[in-house]
Point group: C2
Chain length 495, copies 2
């Protein structure tokens, strides 16, 4: 991987003086074309060894390019905010929107390499991290991002020389701390881990570009030229003809039996039992949320269901047990402009709870495989890949200690019709029923197919779906609360 | 993953009798359309639990479809032939060519699940296998295959009942051996490992289709309908407009310095030194090939280089040291029709050596990133992904004990011109020089760029490139032999 970069690359001053102004202008033009078209985001990842000039190059690009369309992000030690969320959360929130260039300085590859060098992880664990990075980067590319990854390389000898030079100059001596010296002593281990990771994460769509950091002019010219060529190619390209979608169709079961139809939707429960159970379960949930162990956990509860299945009512019975400072409700409607400019899951990542908090989603990321699939708002390849992306997303939550509980509230078509009519007849409920609800109802069967695929493909041991028979609201609310209480208790037991 | 399949799915006899003849005819038609168009291969993978009817379904499909265009492959215990090669070799050789349907019965997913169930591998090792499967299946889809994966599922109770029924009937009792009984006792462990693997390898392009195996008619109807729908969709589809290629350009180094130009091509060596070194090294290689440890290793040597760089001569000096029964030379020219109908690497997989053997490739799979890239014989996304696919391929060889040695023989343009002219002047060498050689020479710079990218992106610790300065043939041949001897000695030391 580093063969070319091991050579003594240099660019002389004359070449630099001739090329730099041209490059600078061309980069600005590319930036404006991108900002205007808003067709894709450019994600520039800068990684590499200590002393190879990462910050110098980032500074130069910041100086050359228009700061209004440029986002520069560094990732020093994680903040509290970040440590209390899944590892990738800090990178999701740093992603540039369509139309902008984002420079990520030491991104998702750094920690896995460092952890391996310090022997805090095994080779197999590094490979698990690498597999996660591959999936994340593939998702970025599938979502249309232009992903450019630069690795700044120095040979062992070059690094020693550069660190000495930096330390000797009073203007740069602060660069070289005990940490840099320590890492320099571990050069061979860094090189081996970096070699492994950069090769394994070099794909056709997101290859690492390895750049020798020995000569500043060479390094900066290489980054600037590559960035320009990649942006120009993407901006100027015309669409091409390809094989149509490559996804085999998902057919509903041949006998018409599915997980939704198998439910007995009308579960009996009297008002008296309900009142007793509700009080008891809310009391347990309240106690759990005040337990010391809750500060090490977090809860993400997802509510999906047929229209008028009683999601709102069930959610209120949950929040009724919680201190208002502990939870946040997220009602998912059409994405904002800011959200539309990001990869699909971005708008959900931003709402993930810190430790000790609860976030309740009224509709969620499952919109992609439900309404977006059924209504044709997204193409088949995009909702087909979403199952894997969603499983990945939820696994990252679960791995970082979040209890993920997902509820599908199911009613039958007759029950829905009754509730729709009741809503239309009750003044204060009329806002709840729109022409869209009636339209969705006509696609009942298509939604049912999508729901069953969703449950089959995203119900996981770490983030299972609970199917809630909701013709009787009492039963539904009690089942939701009981499941949630059990999930939190299980998480406490596993601590 | 198994939620839907846990239900009591059944298809009644009437439905079956009505649907079966129609399906059968439609499947035959799809098969003929596929055979005629030869546009893609269909790879059908059948996996699942014991007793769920895998062989029944395969038998039915064999009966329904035209055997001339159908390949059915089972993978019982590996043969000697197979055990002595990388794990995936047996699956590569079972792949159907374009235009055919191949049914793979218990394929690459079976062993990783079984090994995990028997606790011969850790969770992390299972994840490494899964990552390998993901890369392999992605490659298949990128190469245009329609990949359909069916998982036959039974609940624990259903499985027990089915095995009892099979054992009770004298016609089927042979199905239920001690092995089936043992695996049935491990049901929960199988279910958990299978759940994990099937979910992780369910992608948009190659989702697992989980089928309840409880009712034969339901199971067979589901497989047949899915196979038909997927084939029809792909056969009838028109190309669509997509984003043009998503691969950032690879630029040559800004200062013109690269790994090839950094070589000192004219290394001195006298005839006398050469004769002495050659004899000594050939002697060592001969001794190594007769060493007992050689029976546990194998060697793949790859020769690439500029035209007229002396590949043939170097190869003859290697083979000169070997027993003719031990080695095979593979001269890579244009692929045959059979080879063109397969994924790119297929024609190299078929030549991999058994233990104790040597295979020498005169030109190789690197053609994809050299001549095919430079001449535009394949599209940019295809040669860009090839680096990763090749690294994967070579890692699988190295992991299975193969010593992989790769040589790039480099001469400069003047030296080449001299040799071309000499070839034209010598009668018995004239066959070696063609108009194509002269044409390639005009693209010297483009080839050089491709060579440097190749070396950077595919020189790995397990399968390194050796750059051989070849202006002096004596030096080149000795360096090749010395490197090869050292590589085999290192492999012996590591045993």
């Amino acid at each position: 991987m580093f063969d070319s970069a091991n050579l003594d690359h240099t660019i002389d001053k004359d070449t630099w003086n001739r090329e730099a102004p041209r490059l600078r202008e061309a980069l600005l033009n590319a930036q404006y074309d991108l900002a205007q078209s808003k067709r894709f985001p450019v994600v520039v990842v800068i990684g590499g060894v200590e002393g190879a000039g990462k910050s110098e190059t980032v500074n130069l690009l910041s100086e050359w390019m228009d700061p209004r369309h440029l986002l520069v992000q560094a990732f020093p030690d994680a903040t509290d905010e970040e440590r209390e969320r899944p590892r990738m959360w800090r990178y999701w929130r740093a992603l540039p929107p369509r139309g902008r260039v984002g420079i990520l300085f030491g991104a998702w590859h750094s920690q896995p390499i460092l952890q391996r060098v310090l022997e805090r992880t095994s080779e197999a664990e590094l490979d698990q991290h690498i597999a996660g990075i591959q999936r994340f980067e593939r998702m970025l590319c599938d979502e249309g991002a232009l992903l450019l990854k630069f690795w700044f390389h120095l040979t062992k000898k070059q690094q020693r020389k550069r660190l000495r030079a930096l330390a000797a100059d009073p203007r740069t001596a602060w660069h070289v701390t005990e940490r840099e010296r320590k890492y320099a002593r571990l050069y061979d281990r860094f090189a081996s881990a970096a070699e492994h990771l950069t090769r394994a994460t070099s794909t056709g769509e997101a290859p690492w570009i390895v750049v020798s950091g020995q000569c500043d002019r060479y390094r900066d010219l290489t980054v600037a030229r590559t960035l320009l060529a990649a942006m120009r190619e993407r901006l100027d390209e015309a669409p091409v003809e390809r094989f149509a979608d490559r996804n085999p169709p998902l057919l509903p079961p041949a006998d018409g039996l599915n997980v939704v139809r198998a439910l007995h939707l009308a579960q009996p429960m009297t008002r008296a039992t309900y009142d007793k159970d509700l009080g008891r379960l809310q009391g347990r949930l309240a106690a759990l949320s005040r337990d010391r162990r809750f500060a090490r956990a977090a809860v993400v509860a997802v509510f999906e269901g047929n229209d008028a299945a009683g999601k709102g009512g069930a959610i209120r019975r949950v929040t009724g047990a919680l201190d208002a400072r502990l939870y946040q409700g997220v009602s998912v409607a059409a994405p904002t402009e800011e959200e539309r400019a990001q990869p699909y899951l971005w708008r959900f990542w931003r709402h993930l709870p810190r430790r000790g908090r609860v976030v309740i989603f009224d509709r969620s990321w499952y919109g992609r495989v439900l309404v977006e699939r059924v209504e044709g708002f997204c193409r088949e390849p995009d909702w087909m890949r979403a199952y894997g992306e969603i499983n990945d997303f939820e696994k990252q939550m679960a791995d970082s200690g979040v209890v993920v509980a997902k509820f599908w509230l199911a009613i039958d078509a007759d029950q829905q019709l009754e509730r729709f009519k009741a809503r239309e007849e009750t003044a204060f409920k009329r806002f709840k029923i729109t022409a869209e609800d009636w339209r969705n109802r006509e696609k009942w069967d298509a939604y049912e197919v999508a729901v069953c695929d969703m449950i089959d493909r995203t119900s996981t041991p770490l983030a299972p779906w609970t199917l809630v028979e909701a013709n009787n609201k009492y039963h539904a609310r009690v089942k939701v609360l009981r499941t949630l209480v059990k999930a939190v208790e299980d998480a406490f037991d596993a601590m």
